[in-house]
Symmetry: C2
Subunit: 379 residues, 2 copies
């Protein structure tokens, strides 16, 4: 379909079409292509929860995300390296992006102490003491053999006043430079910087310019979807995305709802990750073309219809809503398994639909159509 | 491979070869064939735990077992019937055997009151009051559209003195007759009787003769694997199996370990069901050609070898023991999923091996070879 560019310089994003600010393209990597806009399935400790790797592939997922914080604690970087890397460990030969651990250290670890060189913390599992610096975080991701390595950053809490947000952003910028120094370039592998600066346009601009000066294979927008609300998130995207290089992929970290994806793609974001489809699947919440549904609800108990008629996943092709309801009511593992499969399939089809719409320059109409489907109260 | 016999009279077992008392053949049913000796996967409430129906099929499983007790409580016979039967409900178009509920009433329900006509009990889930009689149990299995219906019986507790065991067996015999009266014959569907009598040869003979007089499509041996130990179980099989009609399938209920299967097939048993492979899979215990392994054990933490090298399941083909260990250590759902898949595959391959060995008249050598593999302490 597309000519594979020379990957000697790292992974390489190739734009195919634009529609307004939205773009579609392919990120070529050492582990194969990822079509963008892309949704990456979250595989925290080396498994997308409740899914075999074959099932993840069947959803249309092309890239999986691993968490450096979780993987450094269990089973550890040395262990994964000795076992041939994360791709072999989890049976995912395709692209793998790993975050740097910074976000989880802030949200999960205890007794964390931040200094200019890094962060020391205790494991949330057994209280053991660990340290992450830019060099350690990048080194761990080398051990994982991650296709895309993320720089270590501090995810600025929300809300933060301007001084706090500025200090945090400047620290992340220093760490980004040290991460770049520690990163070992390999053909088809990439290192992504992370724009911080809370919801302050001047800080986002400063951060983006600093990262561009250092130079990365891709640029993530971090520190969003942390409580600021969709409107503030989209305003921040509006001012941030235009500051990022056109030729590099743009990754909005930890986002989001189906509606967040529509609005962020419209603003030029190429990559996403979020626990939402997998976590929701484990708690009986399904995303469908007619909006979200809670399968625990008794109104599904006798409903012979498929969950989402046009969906190709086994939950929709093989079973009734009544069966899915029954599985959650009896607390059978197959409920989370089937609904995770469905939700990831829904997210991937949402991305496929947007990629096609961008190619055909009809993204606004497409988004309106998706929303009309959600609004149609079918039952 | 074999001529499909006329199924107007019910399901039909066709013998293909014998080796000593052991036999191999095919049970032809309205929902397709089941090669015997067969291991049926337990799908208690309409799902084989931690497995999609496609995964169950991939293990080589040809018949799935449902539990009338569980299914009558949730989602109920009327609901399953309205949704098109259990086959459609759980996406299992192949043969389904359902037990009658008698065993679970004794082991799970509370406040049960036995009378000559049936048993009244309270649900272990919500305390609601229910009743099972032979006609009700058979009627529920009609609603499920079960391929093979089991008569309602009382599973005699162990130990039981001769008088108790005799009274219990006589009650089961009366219920067997009433079950037969309630059963609606349909081409390719079958009703199985259940031999009781504890470990008393005279009672087993009485029960078997009584059931033969009534006449069934198959004969189950019940009331074993309830604490009597393997030696007593096998002695009871020795005296029971020879009393059963040669032309009908013989089903040993709730059995057992891999070694139980070897010894029972040798004695002429054709069908088995047991929660062992699935339950063990959820608790990190794997059955392999080198014996059983507990994947939680730290000695597997760095082991790059496959769990069981010759096994075609995804746990063995795609992953290391280290990865499986990691999944159980991190309590990821994929651990139970992969190990259930493996254990069912192991059980099905054990049955396939015995079927081939019986055809070649080398079952004793084959059993010795399987045991030699278990004894080989490879690690």
């Amino acid at each position: 379909m597309t000519q594979i560019p020379d990957l000697q310089g790292g992974c390489r994003w190739q734009g195919l079409a634009m529609d307004g600010h939205a773009r579609t393209g392919v990120l070529h990597t050492a582990h194969g292509p990822m079509e963008t806009p892309a949704f990456m399935a979250v595989g925290t400790v080396g498994t997308v929860k409740a899914m075999t790797a074959d099932a993840v592939r069947a959803t249309g997922t092309q890239c999986v995300l691993g968490n450096t914080y979780h993987l450094m604690l269990r089973p550890g970087g040395d262990r994964i390296e000795a076992l041939g890397g994360l791709h072999r460990f989890m049976d995912w030969p395709g692209p793998i992006l790993t975050d740097s651990g910074g976000f989880q250290v802030m949200s999960l670890a205890s007794l964390r102490q931040l200094d200019v060189d890094g962060v020391t913390f205790r494991s949330h599992i057994d209280g053991s003491r660990h340290r992450l610096t830019p060099a350690i975080a990048v080194g761990l991701q080398h051990q994982f053999d991650s296709t895309i390595t993320m720089v270590l950053d501090e995810c600025t809490p929300f809300p933060a006043d301007h001084d706090t947000a500025r200090a945090s952003m400047e620290l992340s910028l220093r760490w980004a430079e040290r991460s770049k120094q520690a990163f070992r370039p390999r053909p088809g592998y990439g290192l992504f910087g992370i724009v911080q600066g809370s919801t302050y346009p001047d800080l986002r601009a400063w951060s983006a310019a600093g990262l561009r000066d250092i130079g990365f294979d891709g640029y993530a927008v971090g520190g969003l979807a942390v409580g600021e609300g969709q409107a503030a998130m989209l305003r921040t995207l509006d001012v941030t995305v235009t500051l990022l290089p056109r030729e590099a992929p743009r990754y909005l970290m930890g986002v989001g709802t189906p509606d967040d994806l529509l609005e962020s793609v419209r603003r030029g974001i190429d990559m996403f990750d979020c626990v939402m489809p997998t976590r929701a699947g484990r708690t009986a919440r399904a995303f469908t073309s007619q909006g979200a549904r809670n399968l625990r609800n008794a109104r599904h108990a006798a409903d012979a219809r498929p969950l989402d008629p046009g969906c190709p996943c086994p939950a929709c092709q093989r079973h009734s809503r009544a069966y899915l309801h029954h599985l959650f009511r009896t607390e059978e593992m197959l409920g989370p398994m089937l609904l995770t499969w469905h939700n990831l399939t829904y997210y991937q089809r949402l991305m496929q639909g947007m990629r096609a719409a961008i190619r055909d320059h009809r993204l606004d109409d497409h988004i309106a159509g998706v929303r009309a489907g959600w609004a149609a109260a079918e039952d």
